[in-house]
Every structure is written in structure tokens, then in C-alpha cells.
Symmetry: C2
Subunit: 158 residues, 2 copies
């Protein structure tokens, strides 16, 4: 009653249909694919452009600040900035006040690359907004923002 023949678990089937994690990840993959395709001429991936945008808005930042802003682990940020540092778009320097801290800034080149990428970002954003329709987008953005807060409000460490 399990393999090939029997009916699939009804609960499992329903779970797949409403799972918030599954749907969030699927949607996130689809949206990222569109952004990556449109951003390809810039040499940036969608994830990297997001990083540049956040740093640009809030520099100077620490690794930990960035991790909080991205709802990501600081070990992840420590690595995801590496390709951008290697590419000369981001520079990291040790804080002279507290030498544990690495201070993150955009370089000249980083600012320039960001500005050059923004028109294509706008194109991707509009492309998706048009396909989804204004109503869905207006519901989606605030809902995503609420969901992103789950990490911080949640009893993460307990």
C-alpha cells in the first residue's frame, strides 16, 4: 500500500498544496530566475544586486548588520560578500575601535555598477509587476515583509 500502487497520503498531498515554505521557495525561485535573466548583462546575480542595494542604503555596515537586514546567517553573509569583494564592488576593513568588526562599504566601482544595474532592475521589477497585476503585488509585498519578520520575532534562539 505504499509504492506505485496505493493511493498517496491524502494529508501529504494537501500539505504540498498549502505549504507556506514550499510555495515561498517556489515563488522565490521563479522570481529570482526572471531577475537573473534580465540582470545578466550587468554581470550581477539578483542576490548580489540586493546586497549592493542594501549596503548602499545603509553603509557603513558590519557583517552582522547585513545578516540582520537580509534575515540571513552571518556566516552566510561572510561568504556571499566574497565574490563582490573579489570583484572590487565591496570593500571590507577592520574597525579600529573594535578589531573583531569588519566594516563593509561600497567601492567607487560598486556604486557605479549599482547605478548601471538599476535600469535593468526596474525592468525586471516592472516585468513581474505587470504579469502579477497591481492587486497581487500590493498584497504580496506587505505579506512578504511580515513573513520576513518571522525570523527576528520568532523564539529563534531559545
Amino acid at each position: 500500500m505504499e509504492n506505485g500502487l496505493g493511493a498517496p497520503s491524502k494529508l501529504a498531498t494537501q500539505a504540498a498544496e498549502v505549504c507556506l515554505c514550499f510555495h515561498a521557495r517556489k515563488a522565490s525561485r521563479a522570481i529570482t530566475q526572471v531577475f537573473d535573466r534580465i540582470l545578466a548583462p550587468t554581470g550581477l546575480k539578483a542576490t548580489q544586486l540586493s546586497l549592493l542595494m542594501v549596503v548602499s542604503a545603509r553603509e557603513p555596515m558590519r557583517i552582522g548588520d547585513l545578516a540582520d537586514a537580509l534575515v540571513s546567517d552571518s556566516t552566510t553573509v561572510s561568504r556571499t560578500i566574497k565574490p563582490l569583494i573579489r570583484a572590487g564592488l565591496i570593500q571590507g576593513s577592520i574597525d579600529s575601535e573594535d578589531r573583531r568588526v569588519k566594516i563593509i562599504n561600497l567601492s567607487h566601482s560598486g556604486h557605479a555598477t549599482l547605478e548601471r544595474a538599476l535600469p535593468l532592475w526596474q525592468e525586471a521589477q516592472s516585468h513581474i509587476a505587470k504579469r502579477l497585476g497591481g492587486t497581487i503585488v500590493q498584497h504580496l509585498l506587505p505579506a512578504l515583509e511580515s513573513a520576513a519578520k518571522l525570523g527576528s520575532t520568532d523564539e529563534r534562539k531559545q
Copy 2:
């Protein structure tokens, strides 16, 4: 006017605030973190449970079917099932009709593990639904479903 001193690009700052890709990925990370934490006792990650749920609902499947269902690349699926095959939860066999095709099924153990994980899945799902509130969830799920369709409807191959 760019580094450390000057004001950040206003457009870049606004872009970060409304970027659908950034917010989708951030929300997806936050939700995945909650699921992963609650699912930890099962030994499954949220991504892996999703995979089991989809296969359970639609087995037997091909790699390509799975990729379509997940809005993922087939090369990605080809790899993401490997830990599950190694763990004995999924089995893949070559289709005798068309030997290019690999047929994916859940094993006994895969079905059992899935059933054992569903209560914790339910707990994670309810946990998040409660925190978000019914209104947001009711808007979020259909919006995510629309967004997931971007990949397929889009002029992906153009």
C-alpha cells in the same frame, strides 16, 4: 559623492524597499528557517520534506516532471534528490521504455518518514499561519502561486 560621505542613491534605496526579488528571498529564508528548526527532529530539511510531499502526491515522476513541479532546474533536481536517495527515502530506476528517463518513487522508508514528519510540518505551518494572521496567509498563498507561474509562462526560452 559616492563613498562613505555622500548620500546614498535615492533610487537604490527605494529599490531595496520594494524589490520583489529581495523580499521574496528574504521571506523565503525566514520561513525556511522556522520550518528547518521545527523539522529538525525528523532529520529532514524543509526542502527535502517538500520534495517528498510532491513525489508522494504524483509518483511515479521523471526528473523533469519534478523540476517543473518545483519551478527548478532539472540539473538542480538531479542533485537535490541525491541525499534522499542516499538516505533510502527515494528510489530512482531507469524507464525500460525510454532509457534516458529516470523514474522517481518513494521507498517504504520514504513514505514512512513522510508520514512521521507530517505532524511537525503541521506544527510549523500553524505556527507561521498564527503569527502572520489569517488575512495575510489568505493573500499570501495565492500570490505566491501566481508568482511561481512566472517561470513557466515567462518567455523563458524566448
